[in-house]
Amino acid sequence: MKRNEAWEDLLTQAEQIPEELETRLNQTIARAERREKRRRWLKPLIGVTGTAAAFVLLVNSSVTFALAASRVPIVRELVEAVAFDPSLKAAVAHDYVQLVGDTYTQDGVTVTIEYLIADPMNVSVFYSLSDEQGRELELVPDLFDADGNSLPVSVSFGEERIERNESEKGLFDTIRGYLGLDKVQKTLYTWRLHASKEGVIQTQMQLKVEVRNLEHWKDAEWNAFDEPDAQESRAPEAMFTLDIPLTIEPQFLKSGRVFPVNQTVDVLGQKLTIDEIAIYPSNTRIIWHTDPENDAWLTYLPFYLTDEHGNRVDGIQNGISGTGKDRGYGGGTVWLDSAWYDTAEHLTLHLDDAAIVPKDQDTVLLQADGQLVGLPDYIEQLEPDPYGDEAAFTFRIRTQKGTYHTNTSSFNGYVDADGQTDSFDSISTYVMSEAENTFTNSYPMPQGVRYPLTLFVDFAPGQKLEHPIEVHT
């Protein structure tokens, strides 16, 4: 074939775009986002090391309760910021907002605590941020009581760009993004602090907020493109710590309601007890435990609530979806969106499907050559798909249509031949194929451990329950 014909052929081939490209890129972005969220999740665990700094209280130090959001024009920005969170959206719609407006400035960085949405188990702090030098900053909070004792909360982060005029905001601006930059009034950032039990959230607390400069850190990440063998990133630079008092109006801490349930049901042959349903303005929590005599672990419990009007409350899509688990803890909490503003008289808790891992099949061996031994029949080992230059092991898990798990880890952790335990954490990759009802995981081969490793199987295909469970409150 002549050169020019070959050239034309090659260009034609390049035009044959695989159909899967669009789906695959969406999956890739979701995967990158999961990794990013996980990274952000880990941040609150890092100790705050900066020096406590004096702050300048500029304005409006008194705490004001917003009686009616609709009557306070500035709350429009809050409405936008909670648009994608059904629970907080309902809270704002019901004027369940505490206006603050306290401003703190240090080294050119100004933080204004704008609003709080608090209940006995959760505090969402909405704040704005500016920096005279225009640096890219990250603010990581730790929560303390009035005596300076650390309070056990988990933290998730959010940010929402607020534009000047909602009517001007259209698809074009969303897609073209920064072309609409001049319309941006400000960005409203959020810390969502979640307690594991009542009593943690108090009327007088203290936030210690580490202010970090991400500029050099981002540069390091970027340089990794040019120097693939270099260390990818280092910790962001901590500049200073802001001390921010947090005062919660007492009425907000009386807004939860706990419904004792104490009902034991059979789920795929396992005893599951629903202890209570706790409903707060920020979320609903289903507290459960299992019978130690069960012969399988319950690994997937997609509860939801309905009322007599047909309204349905599902699991939380963005943010923390639960804590605890059967293996290791014998129980936990599943978080749903809030049912606080549901005006119905009866709520029914449902469970239509679930997944179990038999206790006598809950581990597999990973050998030094990457071979997995003792896999359950729904997991198939594949050729390794390494991330970068790291050795990896790869496997495909068959699931079941309609009971598709997301954000799950197949192997939650491992113990090596010396009894050292660890987890695979953040570097696993995850590719879903909804058409085939499979997902494929790659994990890096852990270094500095003695093989073989015993891996804990945490995933099983979901199964529809023959008799869906209903628990009435």
């Binding site: 050169r3 490209l21 890129l25 890739t28 972005i29 995967r31 760009r161 920064y178």
Partner: protein, 153 residues
Amino acid sequence: MEREEFAARVQDIREQLYRTAYGYLGNAHDSLEAVDEAVYQGFRARKKIRQPEFFTTWMTRILIHVCYRELKRRTRQQEVPMEEQGAEDYDGLPLREAIERLPEELRQVIVLRYFTGLTQTETAQALEIPQGTVVTRQRRALALLRVELEEDV
């Protein structure tokens, strides 16, 4: 850049990215992988974007890095750098392989011009080189590949 905006912009240019990868790697599987990896890296670094109007250029550069690394991995065993060879050394190679063996600076121009579909001006901007250099490299690359195309701009 927010997640939704990044996703929308990436989807807008996905075919262009794919063609770019194909120009480098020459098969669908590797091209998909490369676009995938570039989008992953791009997402993680998206807050680094200072000039969003150059999003396409920015993503293309990331993709070129990814493809270049893949080609480097493929040719790691090669002893004689093709950069030192003359046009006659490319004659015996299938076109696909000849492109793969081009010096990187020439291959970049060829891929961006004919696979990505950029103009000479856009190619110059993307590679941050003068437009005249683009013209020179384009001519040289086509000559090495023995592909005769009409002059264009």
